[in-house]
Structure formats: C-alpha cells, structure tokens
Amino acid sequence: MAESAPTFTVASAPGRLVMAGRIDERARLAELAETVTAGPLVVDLGDVAYINSLGVRDWVMFLRRLAERGVEVTLERCAEPMVLQMNMILDARGHARIASFVAPFACDGCGWEGGRLIVTAEVLPVVEGGGTPEAECPECQGRARFADFVDRYFLFLA
C-alpha cells in the first residue's frame, strides 16, 4: 500500500539541516540533535509536508536538546504544518529564531490557493501595524489575499 506522505528525510551540511517529508514517530529527531556539533544551526523546514502529535513531541525534544547544549537555532522556510504547531505550543518554537516561513494565500481572481514564502523581518512591521500581508498570484499575477486569521497565524512570531 502507498505511504501516506513522503518519508522523513534530512540532509546535513556544516551548520545546516534540511528536513523534508513527514515528521512522525519514525523521524527520530531527538536522536538527530545529538549529532549536531556546537555552533549556530540553520534548519530549513520548507519541504516538511506533514507533522503529527508524535512528531511534535519529537521536534520539541530536538529543540530542547539543542538549547541545553547552547546551540543557537534559526528556522528557515517554515512550512505551514510547522507554523500551525508553533502557534499551538510555545515549545514548538522554543528558543529558535524564525528567519522566514510559508503563509497561505488565495487568489479570488483565478482560484489559486497555496503557500508563499514570507520573510519575517519584512512582514512583522505589517502585522504589528494591524495590516494584512499580500502576495502576487503565481498563476494570474493578480493580488492574492492572505487566507487565514492574521491574529492567529502570526502568533508564533510574538
């Protein structure tokens, strides 16, 4: 039978991890933390397709172990499933800095729906000023509107 989402993969380079696929009980992130050497670490989460409750527990343990060892973590391209968990549980962000993340948009003109990459430093002044981020629709180049609740989706940046 088919797999329910791409299996979890992780690619590593000095100071950098790229996680992709499905984070669940098989991802073993807590063990992965032990392999990280000291120094700043960038974690790219752009291709994380799915995370369940056991994956969240593992992810929280991963961040905790890095924090215990004084590793500074920056998260890049946080996929929407990761953002939703960070909004639900403080520990899912932990001590990490968020450089960029994916936010949901929808185009009323052509019906496109999907995620667009947002740079935290650019969107934060907009959201803190009570505004709503906008993006260009990749299909019709029209204006795509943010497709979630602003006060809930950006909670994790506070």
């Binding site: 039978m1 329910s4 799915y50 409750s53 929280v60 909004n87 639900m88 979630d148």
Partner: protein, 321 residues
C-alpha cells in the same frame, strides 16, 4: 425537546438563530440574558447561548437548571479558542455551534434532532453529516503499524477529490490522530490495568478490538470517521484534551505512549468535530473539513464541537490523545 431558548443580545444573531431553529426544528423563545432564560426552563430544554452571555452573570445557574431539566446547552462559537474553550471546560459543555449563519442552518437542526433522539447515532455515523447519497469508503487495520499504510490509501482517495494541499493535510491529520487514539489509547481507557503498548512495536489487533476508518465527501465537506469498539472515552476526557488549546505553554507528554496533543490538533484541523459516545459499545469520532472557499481559507475561528452520548451505562474514561 420540550422548549428551545436562544440567549443572545445581538438582534441579527437572534433573527438568524430563530429562523434556523423555527424552520428546522420547532418553536423558539428569544431572551437576552441567562437569568431570563433560567426563568423559562420547564421540562427538557435546549438553550442556545452566545459566548458573551455565557461569560456573564447567571450562566452557571442556567446551566444547572437546564441539566436538571434533562436538557442541553449549546454555546455559540463566537471568538477564538481562548474565548470559547474555557467556557466549555468550566461549565462542562458538550456543544459548541458555529457562529457562521450558513453553517448554522445545517448544523443546528442536526444537533437539536440528535439531542432529541440520541439512539442509533453510531450506526449512521458520518453519513448523518453529509448530503444524502454521499459514498463512504471503509478500511479496517489488522495490525498496529498498518495505520500508516491506511493513511496512504486515504490520501490517494483525497487526492482524487482534488482537494487543496491544506485540506488534504488536515484530513490526513484527523485520520492519523483518531486512528492512533482508537488503536493505542481506547483499549487502555476501557481497562485501566492494561498498559499502553509501545508505538514502536507492531502487533496484531484482534478482530474484536479493530477500529474502522471511513471517509467520504459531498462536495461541501470531507468527513473522516473513526470508530473503536470500546466506548470508553468520556465527554470530560475529550473536553480536557481540547482545553489544552487554551494555554500555549502546554507541553507534549513524554514516554512511549501518545503525546497528549492529538485530539487538540484534530479539533483545530476540522470545522466540526463530532463524537458519538455509546458507553461500553463504541466511540465514534467524526471530523468534518469544510471544502468551500472562504475568506479564512476554510479554518473556522473556533471549530464546532459536539459530544453526543447515546443512552447507556456511564463511562469511566481515562487518557485519550
């Protein structure tokens, strides 16, 4: 149900609720305060109460009177989870209904009818919440680790429906978490002496303990239904798990068992989460995901919650999640 009372200050909401209830169920009385509603409770009463009124004075007394009458309280889901869920927890509420007028027209009559005749809900299952004729697919795992493969089959079915990536992910999450609860937590909830099995170990699920996964869509909603044959989960247990969303400082549970987050994550992934609880016989959880294009991208400000208990013995639920 002998009487239906709406408790709401907002005139437009009063009209919407009255129309939905009067046309779909029967006569309705509208008042503005819990105290005024309390004076009207006479025989089995259903009270549909705004979150604002429920947070104000007199709601506790109304809740007690309605329960004594053998009736039910339904809270309007106005505001986010942090506004609504403390009321659910503190007043032991079993029902949160949508604040969206379009959703209400479907949801409120269905809920009130189920409260008036709660027998047989598990037999109808998700079909009760989809348009007539919607087809449900069914899968039954025979081993614990088959869960992942079943979710693959579900995802293939969802892909054929051409759902958005977000909707597909929400549906898969609902099925994943509910199946995990049914396979690992439900047996322990019935038998407290039974230790939760380590999730890393694959084992056969004996026929009498196999859960059932069903799903289907009517074009408006995707419904994910998971039924276990234990019937051991109590409304209090479900409320406690959903209430974890009130405080973001909550932490995942450690150990070999569940993280204790699954039900809260499931709730947030749905537009409506319904439980049919048949004590000692079955626990049936149904997650509905709204497929219609909406300004919020299909995520409700606070999802609806319905805990229907079929007539039978009392439950003694333990952990779930």
């Amino acid at each position: 149900m002998r009487r239906v009372i709406v408790v709401h200050r907002d005139r437009k909401s009063q009209r919407t609720l009255s129309r939905v209830i009067a046309s779909g169920v029967g006569p309705v009385t509208v008042v503005e305060t819990p105290a005024a509603a309390r004076a009207l409770v006479d025989g089995a009463t259903a009270a549909v109460v705004s979150a604002e009124a429920a947070a104000g004075p007199g709601f506790g007394e109304l809740a007690a009177a309605v329960r004594t009458s053998g009736g039910h309280l339904l809270l309007c889901g106005e505001g986010g989870p942090t506004a609504v869920l403390p009321l659910v927890r503190d007043h032991e509420l079993d029902h949160v209904v949508s604040s969206d007028p379009v959703d209400l027209a479907d949801e409120l009559p269905l809920t009130l009818r189920a409260l008036a005749a709660p027998a047989g809900l598990c037999e109808l299952g998700a079909a009760r919440y989809l348009s007539h004729g919607a087809r449900l697919e069914e899968l039954v795992p025979t081993r614990t680790h088959e869960r992942v493969a079943l979710l693959g089959r579900l995802r293939e079915g969802l892909a054929a429906m051409e759902l958005s990536a977000r909707q597909e992910r929400q549906a898969a999450l609902v099925a994943d978490e509910l199946l995990a609860n049914a396979i690992y937590d439900a047996p322990c909830a019935r038998d407290e002496a039974r230790r939760e099995s380590a999730r890393a170990a694959d084992r056969e699920i004996i026929p009498a303990e196999r859960p059932r996964l069903r799903w289907g869509s009517d074009g408006r909603h995707v419904a994910i239904e998971v039924t276990d044959p234990f019937g051991a989960v109590s409304p209090a247990t479900i409320r406690a798990h959903v209430a974890r969303l009130i405080d973001r400082s909550t932490s995942p549970r450690q150990g070999n068992g569940g993280a204790g987050l699954g039900l809260a994550m499931t709730f947030l992934a749905t537009s409506q989460l319904v439980f049919h609880l048949a004590p000692g016989r079955a626990t049936q959880a149904i997650g509905l995901i709204d497929l219609r294009a909406r300004p919020d991208g299909g995520r409700a400000l606070v999802p609806s919650l319905h805990l229907h208990t079929e007539p039978g013995a009392a439950t003694s639920g333990r952990t779930h999640g």
